[in-house]
């Protein structure tokens, strides 16, 4: 009897411990534990466990929620923003101060450190100059007014700056630990953090284990007692481990099993703030003619593509996905008859004399399906021939950035929750603008929107997008991405589908 009791107690302890361990497949190894080096969704999840910036992402809407900052205040011209910090501490007991933020952001921008994503901070006065070696650190518009007041001067009125600072490029790092340990501060044994979790164990290629950080300001609301992130890159293995109960949350599922998976109650799917589109090299004939680009956009049926072929995602006719206060332009729609007329007007009736061109994509069965569908539709509806070219990912990136293509597939997932993340790319000379789209009207509207606020700003941005899409067809949108996940919500609270697919760990808790 006594033995049975002991066994039962042990079983109960084991079960309760199990309920508070949360395992997620993160899909890959992280670049680094240093937030300034991070540049992937994978690293972002680790960032959200270990660090916290001024604001964090709302688990339902991704709107900014107070993190290290309790509130912010814009000046009347929206060119100065002052953040009030809470009294929060690093895991070694040192206070997180406004000066930490100043020094962390200067470190991120410093050209000597050569961090990617430093350009996300270029809204700040003097930031671009400093990070491109033309200015000084002292010229950057950052100031600690006192230990809990942090002032940022912006080049233009940037009301969406608060949305931006949720990004890990705006992280605060423990400058005192960096001074002490130098480059070795990122070694797990030296790591000092300010987030909800501490790194308990990291076995590269195997797993990362996190336990709650008792010094975290909101420690009482951190409910998962042990957080485990796995770097498994094989989608099928991760899925099988999920089915087997080894993993609690996966965010990629095997496409071949979609028909069965989507019937399951623990499969969740929703719109993501991202667009899949065709980049058109507008400098090449006959793609330099807007009528040709419009005809191409009208001549394939996106609904068949998303519903029948891909069985996921949502048809897109514009660049920016719809969001509160922002309605993207209607775009061309699917209209093969009108497409034929436009092509004829451009000098290619029935596709006659239309030069054969190439459609570039990076090797993947999903991209291949999309490109083959578009190729067939263009042939059927317009009578034109397209050659499909697939390249290995890095080669494709190289070809694309060298502008050495006719039309190339591309995708963009928002860096932050604002239409500007999609629209800035098409400004003349932007480094993402591989198709070399250039419109004075578009650039002028975008510049105007940067001096405006609220609804007026959004309206100007919608006008700009109307130029890009309705008038110029500078890119051909295909679909808006969807996020997907498998997680049993009868076991876990606080996990929601959201448009940025960003889930701060402290909101997830086991159901009683």
């Amino acid at each position: 009897m006594k033995k049975a009791l002991i066994v039962l107690t042990m079983l109960a302890v084991a079960l309760s411990a199990g309920a508070q361990t949360f395992v997620m497949n993160n899909g890959a190894e992280i670049e680094s534990l240093d937030p300034a080096v991070m540049e992937s969704v994978t690293s972002h999840r680790v960032y959200m466990a270990l660090f916290e910036g001024l604001f964090i992402s709302d688990p339902k809407t991704n709107a900014p929620l107070p993190g290290m900052a309790t509130k912010y205040k814009f000046s009347s011209d929206y060119k100065t923003v002052t953040f009030t910090l809470r009294k929060a501490y690093w895991s070694d007991g040192v206070q997180v101060t406004a000066q930490d933020f100043v020094d962390s952001w200067i470190r991120k921008l410093d050209p000597k450190n050569a961090f990617t994503y430093a350009d996300l901070l270029w809204d700040i006065v003097g930031a671009q100059e400093f990070s491109t070696g033309k200015g000084t650190a002292a010229g950057v518009g950052l100031k600690a007014l006192n230990p809990t007041t942090f002032e940022v001067k912006l080049k233009n009125p940037t009301p969406h700056f608060v949305q931006k600072v949720v990004h890990y490029a705006f992280a605060v790092v423990p400058m005192h630990a960096i001074k002490k340990y130098g480059a070795d501060w990122v070694l797990p044994k030296n790591l000092v953090v300010n987030g909800a979790y501490l790194l308990k164990e990291w076995r590269p290629q195997e797993k990362m284990v996190f336990t709650p950080n008792p010094k975290y300001w909101d420690a009482k609301n951190v409910k998962i007692k042990e957080l485990v992130l796995l770097p498994i890159d094989d989608v099928n293995t991760a899925y099988n481990m999920y089915i087997n109960g080894d993993i609690d949350w996966i965010d990629v599922v095997p496409a071949e099993l979609m028909d069965t998976i989507k019937l399951r109650a623990d499969y969740h799917v929703g719109p993501e703030y991202g667009t899949y589109y065709l980049n058109i090299n507008v400098t090449k004939k006959p793609l330099d003619d807007a009528r040709v680009r419009q005809a191409l956009s009208m001549a394939f049926d996106r609904t068949v593509l998303t519903n029948t072929i891909l069985k996921s995602h949502f048809p897109a006719f514009a660049n920016v996905p719809p969001s509160a206060g922002y309605t993207p332009p209607k775009g061309t729609g699917y209209n093969p008859e009108e497409a034929k007329k436009l092509l004829a007007a451009a000098g290619y009736p029935g596709g006659a004399g239309f030069p054969k061109f190439q459609l570039l994509y990076n090797t993947s069965s999903n991209h291949q399906k999309v490109m083959q569908f578009i190729q067939a539709e263009w042939k059927k509806n317009l009578g034109i021939e397209v050659e499909l070219i697939n390249q290995e990912f890095t080669t494709y990136l190289d070809t694309k950035s060298a502008h050495d293509f006719d039309i190339a597939r591309a995708g963009w997932i928002a860096d932050y929750l604002d239409p500007a993340t999609f629209l800035d790319m098409w400004e003349t000379g932007n480094s993402q603008n591989d198709g070399l789209y250039s419109s004075k009207e578009y650039d002028a509207l975008l510049a105007k929107s940067r001096t405006q606020l609220g609804a007026a700003r959004l309206k100007t941005m919608m006008e700009a997008e109307a130029v890009l899409i309705n008038k110029d067809m500078g890119i051909i949108p295909i679909y808006y991405y969807q996020t997907q996940a498998m997680i049993d919500l009868s076991k876990w609270n606080g996990w929601y589908l959201n448009p940025m697919n960003v889930h701060a760990w402290k909101f997830i808790s086991p159901k009683k």
Binding site: E29, V37, P111, T132, E206, L230, D233, N236, N240, T394
Partner: protein, 308 residues
């Protein structure tokens, strides 16, 4: 023998030099670089990054620098995982890959030879037919099919073995499925190879002599047949070992094994130059040493071979 060894060991140096030089320049020829991104890096920032990795220097200068560093045992930092050294990946992954490969190879040789003997001695009987049918499956079905089938049966359905991950999490049982998957092909080849050569040896004059002397059949097999019949198997061990080590990339991915194979593939995709070079060097050294060992073992088994 000693002279042979010294000569073989010394020949590793020019071989490695050729491998390092060729790989260094070949990977630089591949389009794209370690900093190609879907979200393109602004040119001014890219310039800073290239400078920080000395990639703004002429390529030949970079090559000489690299060679100098390798000679002092410094493989440099990874380009993708900026705070981790290439040597970290190797010291963490190599023991895992070598133990997985080693177990798979021992398994393949042991079972392969055993099945080969049984098949040869029971030629054209049911034992022979069933063993050789399994061998045909092993040779023709690739690891990325066998692996998931084993996962399905032994992990998902029966729940006897872990689906993936390694000893640290799942205990020693974690080795079974990946090792079985990895060794299946080589087991099949070795079984067929040893069967064929045993059959050949069984018909040779010296076996007839041994039998004529009145030796027991078990002694004939163990002492005379096997020694002669194992030579082709030993010859095959060199390529088999290379195959197992290189092939472990697929198995490591399927079973989430933390070896050197997965980072190697990622490094190639990411154009992580230093990590690719580090992995190439490690793989080359392992393979060269494996071939050397096979050559030495060969001499012990076959008295007709002498080392000069």
């Amino acid at each position: 023998m000693a002279r042979f060894l010294v000569r073989r060991v010394l020949s590793i140096i020019p071989t490695m030099l050729v491998i390092i030089t060729l790989s260094f320049f070949l990977i630089r020829l591949a389009p794209g670089g370690p900093f190609a991104r879907e979200r393109e890096i602004p040119p001014e920032i890219l310039e800073n990054i290239l400078k920080s990795y000395n990639m703004d220097k002429p390529l030949f200068g970079q090559y000489l620098d690299y060679l100098g560093n390798v000679l002092t045992g410094d493989f440099g930092p990874s380009y993708r995982y900026r705070n981790r050294m290439v040597s970290d990946f190797i010291t963490q992954g190599l023991p895992v890959s070598l133990s997985l490969g080693g177990i798979a190879l021992v398994n393949a040789v042991f079972l392969g030879v055993l099945v080969g003997i049984v098949s040869a001695l029971r030629q054209n009987k049911w034992q022979d037919y069933s063993a050789m049918s399994i061998a045909v499956v092993g040779i023709s079905v690739p690891a990325f099919v066998i692996g998931p089938i084993l996962q399905l049966v032994f992990a998902l359905k029966l729940g006897w073995l872990p689906l993936g991950q390694w000893i640290g999490d799942k205990g020693i049982a974690a080795i079974v499925l990946p090792a079985a998957t990895l060794s299946f092909y080589y087991f099949a080849v070795i079984a067929r190879l040893s069967r064929a050569s045993i059959l050949e040896v069984l018909r040779s004059d010296y076996i007839r002599t041994a039998r004529a002397k009145g030796l027991k059949e078990s002694v004939v097999i163990a002492k005379h047949v096997l020694k002669g019949a194992l030579l082709p198997v030993v010859t095959y061990l060199g390529p088999a070992f290379s195959g197992i080590i290189v092939g472990s990339v697929v198995v490591e991915t399927i079973f989430a094994v933390p070896g050197v194979g997965r980072p190697f593939v990622q490094a190639a995709i990411n154009r992580d130059y230093t990590l690719i070079m580090g992995e190439v060097i490690v793989y080359s050294v392992v393979l060269i040493l494996a071939n050397l060992v096979v050559d030495i073992v060969y001499g012990f088994l076959d008295p007709r071979i002498s080392y000069k």
